[in-house]
Amino acid sequence: MTTHIRWLIVIILLSVFSAWMIIPKEENIVLDFNNDDEPEFTFLGEQPLGLDLVGGLRVLLQTTVDPSTYSSEDLQETANNVSRRVNALGLAEATIQTQGIQRILVELPGETDRQRAIDTIQQTALLEFVDFTGMTLTDIQRLEGQRIITTAQIELGLTDPANSTAQRNPLTGQPFGTGLTGECLGAASAQYGQTSQIGGNEWFISFEVASECVSQFADFTGSMVGQPMALVLDGVVLSAPTVQSQLSTGGIITGQFTEDEIQQLALQLRSGALRIPLQVESAVEVGATLGQQFLEDTIRAGVLGAIVVFLFMLIYYRVPGISADIALFVFILLNLALFKLLPVTLTLPAITGFLISIGTAVDGNVLIFERIKEEIRAGKDLNSALNDGFDRAWQSIRDSNISTIIICGILFLFGQTPGASIVSGFAVTLAIGLILNLFTAVTVTRTFLYLIAAISRKQLTENQWLLGV
């Protein structure tokens, strides 16, 4: 009996925790154990929903040039550029990821202006060498990572000076002057070695200027010897080294850089020079109101179906049915909590997978209860009937769940193909349901059934109708 009480406490604690997890919260819960501002765990306040439900845009882009002409880091940097530009549109929940060596997947929940979004994504990165004459070290530190407005951006029509919130030159109140754009950059690479007569080895960037821009670059750097020159990518200041002398065909950038920083900067410079054009391979656009209706319809249908399942178990199995219903309730709580914890993005197929797992979750209970009924009909007493019922049904429950879990694994793999991503959601929720079911159908049901049996042994022994016999 004490085992059952112990399990009861565990189940109650788990359920309370799950219920608390499920309640929508304004903010994410962040756990940062060593206080380094890089949280170890982030729990979402709101259940993330898929594009098909909230509306929005998903675009799969493919590079139009031969993949052997760039590295996977270059593709990643192109994706970072897309990400930076998309964030500039104010789309906070965007996800951008590379897939394989040729593709970038962009998801923009809530975005409904496809034209604007795709135009933004397909732009190639704008790298600028910007005049920072007169800036102090403090100014530069303040501007690093910030968005600034420059003359080249205005000329190219990328920004509207009247409405832009980007930083202006604090000394003049005007947009910053662009000396040179990325088209002029020939090559850029991170290198390690000696950069001056007296210094030791250090990391630096070596870059070359395209031949048609050499005189322009010489004029620009010649006018700003001793002054800082900012490297700006898509309007964001990356770094602002000081120009040591007039440059023409190229130069090096040094500073107190770590290896990682210098590799990153070199990639960023290259992405501004090397253009990896992207074309749309597949796109999904869902209007916002469409998804909302599907979500409401599906939830209503799911609740209705679940109520019928609850009633069926209660009417068909009576007292054991009560324990099965409690187990099913715990099952639903645990599922919903896990969806948020992991997190699982719920799409319509994902919700369908979860609902079907509710329907099949009682399978374990059915197997157990049918066994118990048989044992009682065979004349066993209540306790041994319960024990045999659970023992004998376990193997069937395990085997039958495993075969479907394996299938879910295959479906999940199939869903990794960009064109079939809709399948993964179904596979994930169904698999989670089947795995949790091994716990709830057996342990939770057993705990409650034994407790009920302990409380009302007399009635149950005298009236077998209560056991569904």
Partner: protein
């Protein structure tokens, strides 16, 4: 105990009556269209538009012409929804803000404050304003006007406007500019409710990848399930026989799903997509699991009832597990019927075919896999275990 297994010929005939016409339909479809089913853009590439036009005068021919002018040879156009559907359109609402998101919020707040039934979805379309989509039919003009009284002052109009919704399947466009040109031409017919707009477009390259991945998934599924059956029955005498019967039941379910899908493709234009494959594999998982439960029981009963004829043992096992099979399937069906009747439209086809598959799966475990086992034992299947019948009679004597 009623002898379920005795009537096995009838079960086989019933299955054949569904499977053979299904195969014929697939053959017919193959001969006429080049594929046993209608394949969706997931596999072939292409575009599916769902467009709601707000206003009168949009016809299927008008839509077709626009697509043809934009280089789509044979768009497949289907009208969705009923003839007399309307939406309320709120133009120039009286609001301090011009930001459409803010105004949308105000509209939703007013609707909530009015305490009307159901829910409201709002989509903003340039040129016409806010298209209101009420989930309840019980909302009257009076309700609408009083709910949005604060937003419908000077200059604002609130009108009930007829809508027509089409689903259009067309080709894949290489560039965003081409897509924009097409949509601009469509807007000329009537304003499009952007809130209800959806577009799914897949390049032939991606479609080809999905096809290959699907073939791989089927192959992997077949291998893994066979492996699983071998392991599950490794200690049983005649394990091979059990395995073959379980797999036959599984193939039975797949053929029924494919046949029905092919038929629905011809009649209703249903298409086979990535989710159809998902339904097939899910059914395979459940079907095998059903067969295993019955076989488990047979395995358990054989040593317990040594004197009984094989057929009786099998029949007994069937009866002992039939409650479980029915109870489990019923619960899954409750959920699926609810989803079919009230669920979101986009997964209806998926749920329907899954439902058919699970129905067939329940049937085939009890009425295909198990009777087949008996036929095998008694040597009733041509060329297989022919001396079984003799042995069986001897054992009986």
């Amino acid at each position: 105990m009623f002898n379920l297994v005795e009537k096995r010929r009838w079960y086989f005939i019933l299955s054949a009556l569904i499977i053979i016409p299904g195969l014929a339909i697939m053959g017919y479809s193959w001969a006429t269209t080049g594929a046993p089913f209608r394949l969706s853009i997931d596999f072939t590439g292409g575009s599916i538009y769902t467009i709601t036009f707000v206003g009168e005068g949009v016809t299927e021919d008008g839509v077709r012409t626009v697509f043809e002018q934009n280089g789509d040879e044979n768009p497949i156009i289907q009208r969705l929804g009923s003839e007399d559907e309307t939406r309320w359109v709120l133009s120039n609402p009286t609001s301090e803000s011009t930001d459409s998101d803010v105004v949308t919020g105000e509209i939703l707040d007013d609707f909530a404050a009015a305490g009307l039934d159901g829910s409201l979805a709002v989509g903003y379309t340039d040129g016409i304003g806010y298209v209101l989509n009420f989930s309840s039919d019980a909302i009257t003009e009076e309700n609408v006007r009083s709910a949005f009284a604060s937003l419908t002052g000077e200059g604002a109009t609130l009108t009930e406007t007829p809508i027509t919704t089409y689903s259009i399947r067309a080709g894949f466009k290489e560039t965003e500019a081409e897509r924009q040109a097409l949509e601009a031409d469509l807007e000329v017919l009537a304003p499009i409710d952007r809130g209800s707009f959806s577009l799914e477009t897949v390049s032939p390259t991606v479609g080809g990848e999905v096809t290959r991945a699907a073939a791989l998934a089927i192959l992997l599924g077949a291998l893994v399930i066979t492996g699983f059956i071998v392991i599950a029955f490794r200690q049983v005498p005649n394990a091979f026989r059990f395995g073959v019967c379980a797999i036959t039941a599984m193939v039975h379910d797949i053929l029924i799903m494919m046949g029905i899908m092919s038929l629905l493709g011809i009649i209703l234009g249903w298409e086979v997509d990535a989710l159809f494959l998902t339904a097939i594999l899910t059914v395979v998982g459940f079907s095998v699991q059903d067969s295993i439960v019955v076989f488990d029981r047979i395995r358990e009963n054989i040593p317990l009832r040594l004197g009984e004829p094989y057929e009786t043992i099998v029949n007994r096992s069937l009866w002992e597990t039939i409650h479980r099979s029915l109870a489990t399937q019923l619960n899954a069906f409750f959920i699926m019927i609810a989803l079919l009747l009230f669920g979101g439209e986009t997964v209806q086809h998926f749920i329907f075919i899954l439902f058919i598959g699970l129905l067939s799966g329940s049937y085939s475990s009890l009425f295909t896999a198990v009777p087949l086992l008996v036929s095998w034992e008694k040597g009733e299947i041509p060329y297989i275990n022919q001396d079984g019948g003799e042995k069986y009679k001897e054992a009986m004597a």
